[in-house]
């Protein structure tokens, strides 16, 4: 390490990879996994979300997994929590929708209404 | 001694170690630490080699070896049974465990059985205080012990290592 700049570069790179151990997070993205979720493709959705967050260079986002949320027809389901705001539940997720939601909800702080559970109630 | 540790191979290793540390300041302790690992003890014959090589009086080396409890003049038994008598373990009854072991094996603390099978020791705190009271037999750790556990543990080691691997 010949300079402080080099140290800082390593610091930033590695911190992004391991900060989920200590992060409180401005947003928490919760992906429902479990048998039904996985059968509907939840794992790909999860990995896509992680990839898009990485590409967007976003910091401070916690991505967690949970078990079955109960309504299997709606899988894959992704919930986004932000302190002081009601949670947003996105249903019938696909890899494209996942990328769109990251860009819109997490970067621009705009909920993608069309994909939420609210707009899909019959 | 129950075992022959003064092998040609061991002395070769010792010479390599001496060469490695010869030129640093304060070489004696690092060399003694490694010698204890190589031979399992630092008897007179080993001390003599170190004395000749480093030009340190034998009496001085003997004084250092006998001062530190990790350096021994004779090798330990096949099974080193060490009961931790650190404060946390002591407060949870470790002394009674040690007394029972001494009685059952007929080996006093700090000594080795005549057949070289067991050595019994009371150690200082080994740092596993959350499992108190603790004893180790070689590298196996037994924790959260009560007096009734001792008989079973000792029975596991009632054969020598040769008998077990045969």
């Amino acid at each position: 390490m010949k300079s402080l700049a080099e140290l800082e570069k390593v610091q930033q790179e590695v911190y992004r990879r391991i900060n989920l151990r200590t992060l409180k997070g401005s947003y928490t993205v919760s992906v429902a996994m479990d048998d039904c979720g996985m059968a509907a493709g939840a794992r790909q959705v999860l990995l896509t979300i992680l990839d898009e967050i990485d590409q967007q260079g976003l910091e401070n986002i916690r991505v967690v997994q949970t078990g079955c949320l109960g309504d299997c027809k709606l899988e894959p389901v992704v919930e986004i929590f932000q302190e002081g705001h009601p949670k947003t539940t996105y249903i019938q997720m696909t890899e494209e929708k996942a990328r769109q939601i990251v860009k819109s909800h997490l970067v621009q702080h705009q909920v993608v209404e069309a994909s939420t559970i609210g707009s899909n109630k019959k | 001694m129950a075992k022959n540790i003064l092998t040609e191979e061991n002395f070769q290793k010792l010479h390599t170690v001496i060469e490695h540390y010869r030129h640093i300041q304060g070489p004696l302790m690092p060399i003694l630490n490694e010698a204890q690992v190589i031979f399992g003890a630092i008897p007179y014959e080993v001390q003599k080699v170190i004395s000749d090589e480093l030009n340190i009086p034998l009496a001085e080396i003997y004084g250092v070896v006998t001062f530190y409890s990790q350096f021994t003049l004779e090798p330990k038994g096949d099974y080193l049974i060490a009961v931790c008598l650190g404060t946390a373990c002591y407060v949870k009854g470790a002394q009674k465990l040690l007394d029972q072991i001494v009685t059952r094996l007929g080996v006093k603390v700090g000594e080795t059985s005549p057949d070289g099978r067991y050595s019994v020791e009371a150690t200082r705190c080994i740092g596993a205080c959350g499992l108190a009271p603790v004893l180790t037999v070689n590298n196996a750790v037994y924790g959260r012990l009560v007096e009734g556990d001792i008989q079973g543990i000792l029975e596991k080691y009632s054969k020598t290592s040769e008998e077990v691997s045969a």
């Binding site: 390490m1 010949k2 300079s3 402080l4 140290l7 390593v10 610091q11 911190y15 990879r17 989920l20 151990r21 200590t22 992906v31 429902a32 996994m33 479990d34 979720g37 996985m38 990995l47 992680l50 990485d54 916690r62 991505v63 967690v64 997994q65 949970t66 078990g67 | 640093i24 300041q25 304060g26 004696l28 302790m29 690092p30 630490n33 004084g63 250092v64 001062f67 530190y68 990790q70 350096f71 650190g86 404060t87 946390a88 002591y90 407060v91 009854g93 009674k96 029972q100 009685t103 200082r124 705190c125 080994i126 740092g127 596993a128 205080c129 959350g130 499992l131 108190a132 009560v146 007096e147």
Partner: protein, 599 residues
């Protein structure tokens, strides 16, 4: 590179390792690979999490699920349920008994009461990073302080910062660290050394071990900073041989630091060079005393030397040396980064910052904690420690190891700091805190500590060599029922002489446990001497084991007795021969009917 979505952190401290946490790590790695998850799930061995009572501990992030007392069989469940399906395995979670009933499942590590009540400064990285990967230390601001010091600060600025922070030696002496560094800085060179005392000999203390096993780089960084501030280019770490895992991790850390140019010549492209060497101890408690430590490094018997000259003027190999404890060093990088005012804002007027304590003995949550100076003892024992197990009554807490004393229930509301503990007849020591309950005999405890110091005495000076031995003989007689009232006077006189005339700290503090127990538990001594009884039921010579008529004749006691002193037929009342009985207690612990009592 894609981000791992889950990190499984497994405690790799000595306590959990001896409960096979290394095998647990292997099994996780095996199963994660089998399931094809090795690009998504990172399995990491960290340092000690501190809640040793509940080990082995595994935490899955980012959820923060806190799995405790994990067995190898449990790994399969955690992988298939939690890692593959996102279903947290609630049956394996730690039960946070200190939290309100609805929140007792430890689903989030940061919310666990044991940790919420702490302020982890020296332990900041323990349980968070993999100590064998330098990049993880760097990720959490590692070596930033060293960089700042070398590029933005003069040595005098560093000394100033450490002095302003109010940091005092955490090994037990409590000497102001900044002033010690200044002494060395002002002494003529050119060769000077930085020494680290990692000999941690106090039984029941494992603070330094955890820092070395969990975050070895913070020591390297701090010693380099000390070198810059004082004009030293070499550091020696004297570490006890009984800590093999700590030695291994420190060796790896030094290698990695060298590879990355953070140790060696021209660090960060400046003129400053610093190198480090490890020297192993060999099982002598007295080598924790700084002049004995120096003698040991120099290849001699670990015998202390008179002070003055102090090591800061004449130390290792005769050169000016700063010797500090591991925990003292662990605080330095953050003092530099966050500023001395931040550090001084914590604690009391004369004891700044935080302190790591090793809680052990009769306490529910045994393990490692770090709290602000000034915290009340009661909070530590009842709240963080979770109180005394099995509903027993608190009797005393021993601080300061063999150099310290006991604190009774009357003084639990004292704020913890250096001066308060001394006024109570104890001392801070290195941080070992052993809790005792109604079943511990205080005379026996005093004898235990004295036995330790007699064994560890180097033998150089008469008061310690002869005096402590005479005190031990008196205590032996008292615990065997052969004491006399004048023994108490003899103990007090001997103690005074030994304290005032011993050469080093070992002898000067050896009588403390006796004086302290005499001060607060005199009646217990009198019971042993006059009544020839041991009220706590500990001192063997004053007890008899008896089988009552609750005995059902199951013969379990007879089978487990090591001296064959129990007679009896199947289904008949058994009997212990009191002359042959060695009072080991094996029978009492095996009896399923609680038919055996101690009188």
């Amino acid at each position: 590179m894609s981000l791992f979505r889950s990190h499984v952190l497994i405690c790799g401290g000595t306590g959990c390792t001896s409960s096979s946490s290394d095998k647990i790590e292997e099994r996780f790695k095996e199963l994660v690979a089998e399931q094809g998850l090795d690009q998504e799930v990172m399995v990491v061995r960290t340092g000690c999490f501190g809640l040793c009572e509940e080990g082995p501990i595994c935490i899955v992030h980012p959820e923060g699920s806190f799995y405790s007392r994990v067995k190898i069989e449990d790994v399969d469940t955690i992988v298939s349920e939690h890692l593959m399906k996102g279903r947290v395995v609630t049956s394996l979670l730690y039960r946070d008994k200190l939290a309100p009933p609805e929140h007792q499942l430890a689903t989030s590590f940061s919310e666990v009461t044991f940790y919420k009540m702490q302020h982890r400064v020296a332990l900041k990285n323990c349980g968070v990073i993999n100590p064998e990967v330098i990049e993880e230390y760097i990720a959490y601001d590692g070596y930033k302080a060293l960089g700042k010091v070398l590029t933005e600060m003069q040595p005098a600025d560093v000394l100033d910062a450490v002095k302003k922070s109010g940091l005092r030696g955490r090994g037990g002496g409590g000497f102001p660290t900044g002033i010690k560094w200044e002494f060395a800085a002002k002494t003529e060179g050119p060769i000077k050394y930085i020494g680290c005392n990692a000999d941690e000999g106090d039984p029941g203390a494992f603070m330094d071990r955890s820092i070395l096993e969990g975050d070895p780089h913070c020591l390297i960084e701090a010693m380099a900073i000390a070198g810059y501030a004082t004009g030293a280019e070499k550091g020696y770490v004297y570490i006890r041989a009984e800590y093999p895992i700590a030695v291994k991790r420190l060796k790896i850390a030094i290698e990695q630091a060298k590879e990355h140019g953070l140790l060696g010549r021209n660090i960060f492209g400046t003129d400053f060079s610093f190198d480090m060497e490890i020297r192993l101890g060999a099982g002598a408690f007295v080598c924790g005393e700084e002049t004995a430590l120096i003698a040991s490094i120099e290849g001699e018997r670990g015998m202390p030397r008179p002070k003055p000259p102090f090591p800061a003027h004449k130390g290792i190999f005769g050169k000016p040396t700063v010797i500090n404890n591991v925990e003292t060093f662990a605080n330095v990088p953050q003092i530099i980064l966050k500023g001395p005012e931040w550090y001084a804002s914590m604690g009391t007027e004369k004891s700044k910052g935080t302190k790591v304590f090793a809680l052990g003995g009769k306490i529910n949550n045994s393990g490692l904690i770090e709290i602000e100076m000034g915290t009340k003892l009661r909070h530590v024992i009842e709240d963080i420690g979770g109180g005394i197990p099995k509903g027993k009554k608190f009797k005393a807490v021993q601080t300061g190891g063999p150099s310290g004393g006991c604190i009774t229930a009357d003084h639990l509301d004292i704020p913890i700091d250096y001066d308060n503990l001394i006024s109570l007849g104890s001392m801070m020591g290195s941080g070992g805190m052993i809790v005792m309950d109604e079943d511990n005999c205080m005379v026996d405890i005093a004898r235990f500590f004295l036995d330790f110091t007699v064994d560890e005495s180097c033998g150089k000076c008469v008061p310690c060599r002869e005096g402590t031995r005479r005190m031990l003989e008196i205590l032996d007689r008292i615990t065997e029922g052969k004491g006399e009232m004048e023994d108490i006077d003899k103990l007090e006189r001997l103690a005074k002489n030994i304290k005032s005339s011993s050469l080093c700290g070992l002898g000067q503090t050896a009588p403390n446990p006796v004086l302290s127990t005499l001060r607060y538990f005199r009646t217990e001594y009198e019971a042993h001497i006059v009544g020839k009884t041991c009220p706590a039921g500990v001192c063997q010579a004053l007890l008899t084991y008896v089988i009552t008529d609750a005995c059902k004749g199951c013969t379990l006691c007879k089978k487990v007795c090591p001296v064959g002193c129990i007679t009896g037929e199947v289904k008949g009342l058994h009997h212990i021969d009191p002359d042959a009985c060695i009072k080991c207690g094996a029978c009492m612990s095996k009896c399923p009917f609680n038919a055996i009592i101690k009188k």
